[in-house]
Symmetry: C2
Subunit: 439 residues, 2 copies
């Protein structure tokens, strides 16, 4: 994937939050190109208004533009009824906010028909930050809920072809390290296959790549991804490489040989909204290729420490909480860098209260604090001026320290042998598996 | 390869012969695009003159346009001196007529430095004709001469992505059958590796594909190959797939693991001139990628039975002599269809003589008759009117029957086990092999 997840891409916490490009870069882009917002896997811009003010990404508008569907309270109710599980806090809070054909996956789950999950990451560095972990946390929830197979694509080939600096050897190292980080999220080794394109390219996967490539013209990519003639042919071709894992026949060791039955197994793709263009393309062609269309479920971006209008970056330490940060580093980063929606003085804060929509510590709590009542209590206290900036930062620090410490504890257990178990081309064990391991 | 060889592509026997598109199709193209000749892997047109008359491909001009070098008598002399072998009749007769850095390969041969041969075929059908066998005959001569490794790429992926009708399954069948036909040309199994892209894609080969793809922009391909925005992304990307076998690190089972030493092993690519754009692109980037530039040696096309201005096609039985044709079919095709450069009546023929430049039977003899003196005798007799049309056809029939019968006898011996030996990823045995099989 260019990355199903956070990458170095503009985070924004929810509909209404500005994108995370630096202000001037975004303004340049918006002025140079249009006043409209533009979201592709390679560019996220909310545009500017007539006075030149940067606009937040309008996720609702985006959903309409992309032709996707907002996740409704009714769909959440149905999710809970069908799965017997309370929707994830990301779903309850509009962090996972839109979808395509999620209802069809629920239909299949209800009938006991097979499907699988597909997500991925572009391994552009060996240091993942908490923003990267968001889509994987949600994917883990879906795997736990559906007890279905999961394939995770590491798009080392795309990272190499798209980057000026990254070598093929770099991507190999990044893929291995990132795989370990992803594993530490807590995926079930019996149900999960992690592959890098450089390792897995070939065989039925490559056949599906070419079958998709044959249906994508240059013009379509230029329009959809904002490329032009100076982009390299690998960048154009990659669209097909990201589509192919959406077809079950790409994984004969999981689903068996290419038959009509295997071709009819769809996947559900949890991804950040910027990845939607890849899968729209995939859906446009899937049925002509005699596959089922993949279903998709979209998330928003986690904002950078600098808040709305700033960019979270793997290469800027102060922009993000990294999964390798110590408790002290986390504390210092939140205290020093986290953009505050509070007032300048304690007095003013008591009088006017804080703006939770602008406040990065509060935004992070919407991602990381599970307890809805507690979150509501904090929101109310902060907005009313009862809670000070320092206090909400302390709560945020505590929860992030816990999250990262728990992650690090699991990460320590991920040895090379554990990684090999996930990348091995083995049969998987899952609900309704037509190819049980013991067969 | 789009095909290193004959494909369904316009044959023309030597500088001065018209291309083999049907007259009207060529005229349409020429008028629509320009009066200039245009040669790409997907289009061969000699253009039209001011009166609208179709022009033959001007190979000399092409050599200059492409920036290649005509093979000089001095280079042929050096070839003979260095290898101790008389240059192949294709070289002596201008059928193999131009090159890039062939002299550097001779230098290496002289010094005992390693290099290899690389050629290929686009498996677009399971019936190969004699035109297809020409570049392989020449490649066999080079292998016998240099006693070096040879890799043969079957570009089933490209054939699928470029064709509207061919399925992936078709290309698999074509690849297997074509491999057997190629083997029957007489290659040395200890020195030859035949691979199809669908079988071999992945690993170090795929890494080289992406390394090349990263250096090729869309604009470069549009210009060089005559593509536009309605071509699919696979067609654009394929350029990198045809380049990658020119790097020895694509074949670790032959040359060993990726080291500077392996990176410095160049190849010599025998191919039809229309394939030059792929390898020009490869040469432009090779040294930046820390590889040696491949050397290239170009051949002209074998004309179709209908002669200058007509198109040899695998799907038009009467246009070509197929490697599966019976002696009787060959006789009938030459007698019925072979375009004659002779006069309308025996009387006129005796008076004016035949035109060997237009005469397909004579042209075929330049390809298939080894004896230079005999060829000169026939030329003289036919041009002087001493030899009749029927007579030269009989000579041509005899030589083609012999060629095809000999091929078919060898082809019978090519069992599935023999094919497997050629496609196996085994070490090869050759002069100066740094990785002998016994190691």
């Amino acid at each position: 994937m260019a990355s199903h997840g956070q990458k170095g891409l503009p985070p924004a916490d929810e509909p209404g939050q500005p994108p995370n490009l630096t202000t001037s870069a975004l303004a340049d882009k918006a002025h140079a190109m249009s006043l409209e917002q533009k979201i592709t896997p390679f560019e996220v811009s909310g545009g500017v208004d007539e006075s030149g003010k940067l606009l937040p990404v309008d996720y609702e508008k985006l959903t309409r533009q992309f032709g996707a569907t907002q996740i409704s309270p009714q769909l959440l109710e149905r999710f809970e009824k069908v799965t017997g599980k309370k929707p994830h806090r990301f779903m309850r809070r509009g962090i996972v906010f839109s979808h395509r054909d999620l209802d069809k996956i629920l239909d299949r789950y209800e009938k006991g028909e097979p499907f699988y999950l597909y997500t991925g990451r572009g391994p552009s560095s060996d240091s993942m930050h908490v923003g990267h972990s968001i889509p994987f946390e949600f994917t883990k929830f879906l795997q736990d809920t559906f007890e279905c197979p999961l394939v995770i694509q590491l798009t080392d080939d795309e990272k190499f072809m798209h980057s000026e600096k990254i070598t093929i050897d770099d991507t190999g190292r990044f893929s291995r390290e990132n795989a370990k980080d992803i594993i530490a999220i807590g995926f079930d080794p019996a149900k999960t296959f992690i592959f890098s394109d450089y390792d897995y390219m070939g065989g039925p996967f490559y056949k599906n790549v070419t079958a998709m490539a044959k249906r994508i013209t240059m013009n379509q990519i230029e329009g959809t991804f904002g490329f032009n003639g100076s982009n390299n042919v690998g960048e154009f071709f990659f669209c097909a490489i990201q589509s192919a894992p959406a077809f079950a026949t790409s994984f004969p060791h999981i689903f068996g040989e290419n038959t009509n039955k295997v071709r009819s197994i769809p996947c559900l793709i949890p991804c950040a909204i910027d990845q939607d263009p890849y899968f729209r393309q995939c859906r446009d062609n899937a049925e002509k290729m005699k596959f089922k269309k993949p279903s998709i479920i979209h998330s928003v971006f986690l904002p950078a420490l600098q808040g709305p209008g700033s960019k979270m970056s793997s290469s800027v330490d102060s922009s993000a909480i990294f999964l390798t940060d110590t408790p002290n580093q986390i504390k210092n980063k939140i205290n020093r860098y986290a953009f505050s929606g509070g007032q300048d003085t304690a007095e003013k804060q008591r009088e006017l209260g804080g703006d939770t929509k602008q406040d990065v510590p509060f935004q992070y709590l919407t991602f990381f604090l599970e307890d809805d009542d507690e979150l509501a209590r904090i929101k109310k206290a902060y907005e009313s001026g009862e809670m000070m900036t320092g206090e909400i930062k302390q709560i945020c620090i505590k929860h992030l320290q816990e999250y990262v410490a728990t992650f690090q504890a699991r990460r320590k257990e991920v040895t090379e042998a554990v990684r090999e178990n996930f990348v091995e081309r083995k049969k998987l064990e899952y609900k309704g598996n037509p190819n049980p391991k013991t067969a």
